[in-house]
């Protein structure tokens, strides 16, 4: 997509884009097949043209835009604007990259009355998300015991392929989990009430319809309840290195040097199968709509159709499953800490900070083009809800400061805690980024890195990594990710998610 190598070098090493400068500020960005217009700092727009129903926007610095323009992200973002009922503009967050159908980092507000719902624009891993558990341990308490801790976590938290789950579920348990989410975990003694109070939607989607979850999805899920999986999913013990907004950090209970645990995973095979089967059913039932879309993976069920209702019910059930999955892993983590540190988890202060989804669609009310309030299916695929203080859907514990947003970085870089920013409702349907975002393919990563070397180098930095597969470590090497600091800087500068704290890895387990 390179347009002009000479001028690219002149404006600072850009390989793929060519920003046109007028009076010291770039006004357009030439990404080859498309030209983006600068709306304001960090906001770039692909104007509506052809069959696009709305414009597309990228929230990024020029540095991040260079990476975003390097693969098919912009094309996928443009394609998604062909979906019926899209409102205002479809967006790519600062960490966006190429996915399947809709890019990762994509946000679309689609009218719930005359629009549609698209499983591929939510992702196979329904309610893939992150939770952060606090402790009152300091880094000093953990230093020298990292290997003991990483070994104990690795031995006790199922990960990888075929590693089973913390609970072997029967059909009754699966149905109850799909129906009641973390309320089931509370009834069964896997959670305390405070856990539910510190989770998006208090850990249960009441719109769930377990009967709409395909049997094959339930079959896949029953031996995966409480398991990390593989790929970019992980459990990481971290230390807080910096806090930025001291009043918010206080409200969140975060302070420098504190040990926290971050858990990143989703709805496992159950959610993947829900997405797969509905994608196929929608393809067969709504071929006419599919024929108008530029990518088959965007297949969508028209709002009000039976399949839209059924998919929404099944997706909400898979959301509940993912919350229980992360809850069980947190419960097991508490037990491991109890054993390693010889103190019960309550005394260790192992309270849930928050649990956020980043692959999800939700019915939410937003102000659209003409100032009208509309109920939308807000699709967030690799994007995090970022509601500000005072919003009615922010849990009571954080109503005065805004909801926590957890942005995991790579295992060699920091992660961040943000809070929902004042600008998010206006700019991004109440959303921000979800991670660092990949820049390098997995196949390339395995050529460039060897898992053992990556582990050794991280250990030099006092980061202890343990994985089922050396290839996973290579594929997830810190060098394959974008600069998480820059992603968060853009979110903060835009006011969609404000920086509260930064954390740094201590030990990490993965599939």
């Amino acid at each position: 997509m390179t347009t002009d190598d000479t001028s690219s070098e002149a404006d600072g090493g850009t390989d793929h884009g060519d920003a046109t400068v007028e009076g010291g500020d770039a006004t357009t960005y030439d990404a080859g097949e498309v030209t983006l217009r600068k709306v304001r700092e960090h906001v770039w727009e692909i104007p509506k043209e052809g069959d696009m129903r709305v414009p597309a926007r990228v929230l990024a610095s020029e540095q991040l835009l260079d990476q975003i323009a390097d693969d098919k992200t912009l094309q996928q973002l443009q394609n998604s604007t062909h979906l019926p009922g899209v409102r205002k503009y479809n967006l790519c967050m600062p960490d966006g990259h190429q996915g399947y159908g809709f890019p990762v980092g994509g946000v679309a507000g689609i009218d719930a009355e005359d629009g549609c719902i698209s499983p591929g624009a939510i992702g196979y891993d329904i309610n893939c998300g992150v939770r952060m558990v606090k402790t009152n341990l300091t880094y000093e308490d953990v230093q020298g015991r990292e290997e003991e801790l990483v070994d104990a976590l690795f031995a006790n938290v199922p990960s990888g392929l075929g590693g089973g789950g913390i609970v072997e579920g029967d059909i009754d348990a699966i149905e109850a989990i799909l129906d009641r989410g973390m309320e089931w975990a509370l009834e069964e003694g896997w959670a305390v009430e405070e856990d539910l109070a510190h989770c998006e939607d208090e850990g249960v989607r009441h719109d769930s319809q377990p009967s709409k979850v395909p049997q094959k999805a339930k079959d896949r899920g029953k031996n995966q309840i409480g398991s990390l999986g593989s790929g970019n999913h992980f459990l990481e013990v971290q230390r807080v290195t910096d806090t930025y907004l001291s009043d918010v950090a206080d409200a969140y209970g975060l302070e420098e040097d504190q040990i926290v645990v971050l858990i990143h995973c989703g709805s496992r095979g159950l959610g993947h199968q829900v997405c797969t089967e509905y994608l196929r059913d929608i393809e067969k039932a709504h071929a006419g709509l599919l024929g108008q879309l530029p990518d088959k993976e965007l297949a969508a069920a028209p709002a009000g159709s039976q399949l839209a209702e059924d998919y929404y019910g099944a997706m909400c059930a898979a959301i509940n499953f993912a919350w229980v999955n992360r809850q069980l892993i947190m419960h097991r983590t508490r037990q491991v800490f109890e054993k390693v540190f010889g103190t019960d988890w309550e005394t260790l202060g192992m309270d849930l900070l928050y649990d956020v989804a980043h692959n999800i669609a939700k019915k939410e009310t937003h102000t659209v083009e003409n100032g009208e309030e509309r109920e939308l299916y807000v699709h967030r695929k690799g994007a995090t809800r970022a509601f500000p203080a005072g919003h009615s859907e922010v849990p009571g514990a954080y109503l005065d400061v805004g909801q926590p947003i957890i942005i995991p970085g790579s295992m060699g870089a920091g992660s961040y805690v943000l809070r929902g920013g004042e600008e998010s409702m206006d700019l991004s349907f109440g959303s921000t980024a979800h991670g660092a975002g990949r820049t390098m393919s997995r196949t390339q990563a395995k050529q460039d890195y060897w898992g053992g070397d990556v582990q050794d180098e991280l250990e030099q930095e006092h980061i202890y990594v343990k994985a089922q597969s050396g290839a996973t470590v290579a594929e997830e090497a810190p060098g394959v990710y974008k600069d998480v600091d820059e992603v968060v800087r853009v979110s903060d500068a835009l006011g969609i998610g404000d920086k509260v704290a930064r954390t740094y890895p201590v030990c990490n387990i993965k599939g």
């Binding site: 079959d219 997995r442 089922q468």
Partner: protein, 145 residues
């Protein structure tokens, strides 16, 4: 003829070729196994049958790979050494049936325990390409990992 893993920013793509549709589909399935496991044991595990029906060739490829992912999770095995034969029914199936393309095949299921394999979440339609070439068929499939 066979498969190659192709670059994709976040996921994995497989390009498969074969003299027949069946051989090409089986090569795509072998590529999927390779995306999950770098060193596949040459022996071990029992063969199990796979049968899939769908309304088109592309849908059949999608459903076939999805079925193998499903079997992987419920049987706790990695499906390798895949074999497949694809045929189009002579007689159109009654309305409401899954369609007129049928795949009959088998795979060797290597137990996942101790294999150090990695998860692969799902098959996608994104950029899927299936076409006849001078030598047979070529398939391109992106997987979500």
């Amino acid at each position: 003829m066979g498969y190659e893993l192709r670059d994709h920013t976040a996921d994995v793509a497989v390009e498969a070729t074969g003299p027949t549709l069946g051989a090409t589909f089986a090569a795509a399935a072998d590529g999927m196994a390779a995306a999950m496991c770098d060193v596949i044991p040459e022996s071990g595990g029992e063969r199990f049958p796979v049968e899939v029906r769908a309304e088109s060739r592309e849908a059949l490829l999608f459903d076939y790979l999805d079925e193998l992912i499903y079997q992987r999770d419920v049987r706790g095995v990695l499906p390798v050494d895949n074999e497949a034969a694809v045929r189009e029914s002579d007689v159109r199936e009654p309305a409401g049936d899954d369609g007129e393309w049928t795949l009959t095949g088998a795979a060797r299921g290597v137990p996942l325990a101790g294999l150090g394999a990695r998860d692969l979440k799902a098959v996608t339609y994104s950029e899927m390409d299936l076409r006849e070439t001078d030598d047979g068929w070529r398939a391109y499939v992106v997987f979500d990992v």
